[in-house]
């Protein structure tokens, strides 16, 4: 059976938003948040709740998203789009690693990008193993 991920994610966003507003409301009495977290919990909570509620109650948007999740051609296009973008990302990161590695002042950036590439490579390997076992 088809799982409707958009609805699931929007419900999670709504719960996060309401939780954030709840934390902000409690803080009005107990005063345990600093100024930054006060502002963050209020704006994050209200914007997330509002966006989630608007989208969840929009039949047009929900129908469009359900279709885009179900339609095999759109799913294939999205998969191809993501894999092409990821291949470009790897190529671009590798080029940047070499360029930053050439200069002594920027070699730490090179190490940072190379570390990210290493973690991504490991993740790619593990996800490959998972799908090879699954199919």
């Amino acid at each position: 059976m088809h799982k409707f991920y958009t609805k699931k994610y929007l419900n999670i966003s709504l719960i996060l938003g309401v939780t954030s507003i709840f934390i902000f409301s409690i803080d009005l009495y107990l005063n345990f948040l600093n100024d930054f977290l006060k502002g963050f919990s209020m704006s994050f909570g209200f914007s997330l709740t509002l966006i989630s509620l608007i989208l969840l109650n929009s039949p047009k948007y929900m129908k469009k998203m359900e279709m885009s999740e179900k339609d095999e051609r759109l799913v294939m296009i999205k998969d191809k789009q993501l894999s092409t973008a990821y291949s470009f990302h790897i190529f671009f990161s590798a080029v940047l690693t070499v360029i930053f590695g050439l200069n002594e002042e920027t070699y730490m950036i090179s190490v940072a990008i190379a570390s990210i590439l290493l973690v991504e490579g490991l993740f790619l390997f593990l996800i490959g193993l998972y799908y090879k076992n699954k199919y």
Binding site: M67, S68, K70, D71, E72, R73, L74
Partner: protein, 66 residues
């Protein structure tokens, strides 16, 4: 791969939008299928064949790449 989708749809006097709703795909997918730009999965091919009461081979005609 050629297909008879457009002919079958027109025979049933269905619009692309109506067929898309029946098959639970987007209208763009129907357009791509009719133009032969997109080959459907076996599941969608079965769904189409079942709806038009035909076999898959009667709707989708395989052409060798050679």
């Amino acid at each position: 791969m050629k297909n008879e989708l457009e002919r079958l749809r027109k025979e049933r006097r269905l619009s692309q939008e109506e067929l898309a709703d029946i098959l639970e795909v987007s209208r763009q997918t129907i357009i791509s299928l009719e133009k032969g730009k997109y080959n459907p999965s076996i599941l969608l091919a079965f769904k189409i064949a079942k709806y038009f009461n035909q076999t898959i081979e009667a709707i989708f005609i395989y052409e060798s790449e050679q």
